[in-house]
């Protein structure tokens, strides 16, 4: 039973990656968005002028703003495309809702992880930052990425069934993501500058856990009439 559930979830995840590799709908949008934002910001701010500490403060916020907007631009597709290309019915009829949610969550999280893997080293290099705690930075990126993935997956499933999905997504997502962004920025800042990050990471984990659990509980209701 549970092994077939896993197989279902991975099948959803696998088909999204395979489609992506062939058509490149999302990755291109996400990476281009991230690169453009980083380059504009580094040209505007530059490594000259500000002290390393100030730069770390600014870049921690900048990095999460970038990830947030890239997510808003590229990730609702996870469900919007299923509805628009009319494949959602086939998926509804064939797979268990929880497996669909797990597969989609994995897909969105892996996209975000890839984006973070590109954007973070680039930001560190472009702004000539020193990372006080690489492990802390990794934890901040993982914690923030998971929360961002879970929240966008749930909301994408909601807006895909309404009109004007993309604008609606922005309206729904930003308030939901503010606590996450604030926590993730705080965790990233303390990883870059060094300092006590434990309580913030714990709250980040609490947020992630709440959204993931709420997502699994609510998804069957969102997905099926």
């Amino acid at each position: 039973m549970s092994s077939t559930w896993l197989a279902e979830a991975f099948a959803v995840f696998g088909k999204d990656w395979r489609s992506e590799m062939r058509a490149r709908h999302s990755v291109a949008t996400l990476v281009l968005f991230a690169l453009t934002t980083l380059i504009i910001a580094s040209l505007a701010l530059g490594p000259i002028g500000a002290s390393p500490g100030e730069r770390s403060e600014v870049v921690a916020a900048l990095l999460w703003i970038l990830l947030l907007f890239a997510a808003a631009a590229g990730l609702p597709r996870a469900f919007v495309h299923e509805e628009e290309s009319r494949t959602a019915a086939a998926l509804r009829l064939a797979a268990r809702p929880s497996a669909v949610f797990a597969g989609k969550l994995l897909w969105v999280a892996s996209l975000l992880a890839a984006l973070e893997a590109i954007a973070t080293p680039l930001a560190v290099a472009l702004f000539d930052l020193e990372v006080a705690s690489p492990l802390g930075l990794l934890a901040a990126l993982a914690g923030g990425g998971l929360g961002l993935a879970a929240a966008t997956t749930v909301l994408a499933a909601i807006v895909a069934q309404g009109r004007g999905a993309t604008t609606l997504f922005a309206a729904l997502a930003f308030p939901l993501l503010v606590p996450l962004a604030v926590l993730a920025v705080a965790a990233t800042r303390s990883a870059l500058l060094g300092g006590e990050a434990g309580p913030v990471l714990l709250q980040l984990l609490l947020y992630d856990g709440s959204i993931v659990v709420a997502g699994f509980l609510l998804f069957p209701v969102i997905w099926n009439p």
């Binding site: 909601i158 807006v159 069934q161 009109r163 729904l172 308030p175 606590p179 709250q203 609510l218």
Partner: protein
């Protein structure tokens, strides 16, 4: 609500206004009588939280039960009222901030987080208007409001404590101790109770009205 109960609520609220100005002492370290706004500002902020939680509970009842339209309506009305009370909390807070801090708006974490909470629930109303089909609207907006049950505590309790704040310590502060003059506390609690009852009364009226409007619209079809 029955007439005697309504009269009681009215007398109760009048009593609170009198007590707030003539019985409760002034808090130390505040300009003039400005601390008295506390007796109205804190309860309306509290009621906005109660309303948003009530919306979540109605939504859960809608989803878990037989998807009765009255629970859906009840949630929507609760969100509308929650927004109204959150707006009142923001306005009373701004008046106080103008007097104490010298500016109507200071991007204080507590000010910011109630704005974020309002945005979250304004998005609920946007979501409702974006879905034409009645069944999907009820289902999806209920799921979103249930999500609010999970994140609203972040807006009200975690987010405001993250950054440095000028805002006075919450009545029940981080260490869980109550450090307020007993008479102030009494008025504050009585006022919170009064506003909570007031909220549920308005909610009942609005929900009934929404039901009547719906039946009227269907009748004239």
């Amino acid at each position: 609500m029955r007439k005697p109960l309504l009269l009681l609520l009215w007398l109760w609220m009048c009593g609170i206004i009198v007590a707030a100005y003539h019985w409760a002492p002034l808090a130390e370290g505040f300009k003039g009588d400005s601390s008295r706004i506390l007796f109205f500002h804190v309860p309306v902020a509290w009621v906005s939280f109660v309303a948003f939680m009530a919306a979540g509970v109605s939504s859960l009842r809608f989803l878990a039960g037989r998807r009765e339209a009255r629970h859906d309506r009840s949630a929507a009305v609760a969100v509308e009222l929650g927004l109204l009370f959150a707006l009142l909390a923001t306005l009373t807070g701004a008046i106080w901030a103008r007097i104490e801090w010298g500016a109507w708006w200071n991007w204080d974490p507590r000010q910011t987080s109630i704005v974020v909470a309002m945005l979250f629930y304004a998005a609920y109303l946007a979501l409702r208007s974006a879905i034409a089909d009645q069944e999907s609207r009820g289902r999806l907006s209920a799921a979103y409001a249930t999500l609010g049950l999970v994140v609203a505590p972040f807006f009200y309790f975690i987010l405001p404590r993250l950054a440095f704040t000028l805002h006075p310590e919450p009545v029940v502060n981080a260490s869980g101790e109550v450090d307020v003059d007993p008479r102030m506390l009494a008025v504050l609690l009585a006022s919170s109770a009064g506003f909570t009852v007031l909220y549920f009364w308005i909610h009942r009226l609005r929900a009934r009205l929404a039901g009547i409007e719906l039946r009227r619209d269907e009748g004239t079809e």
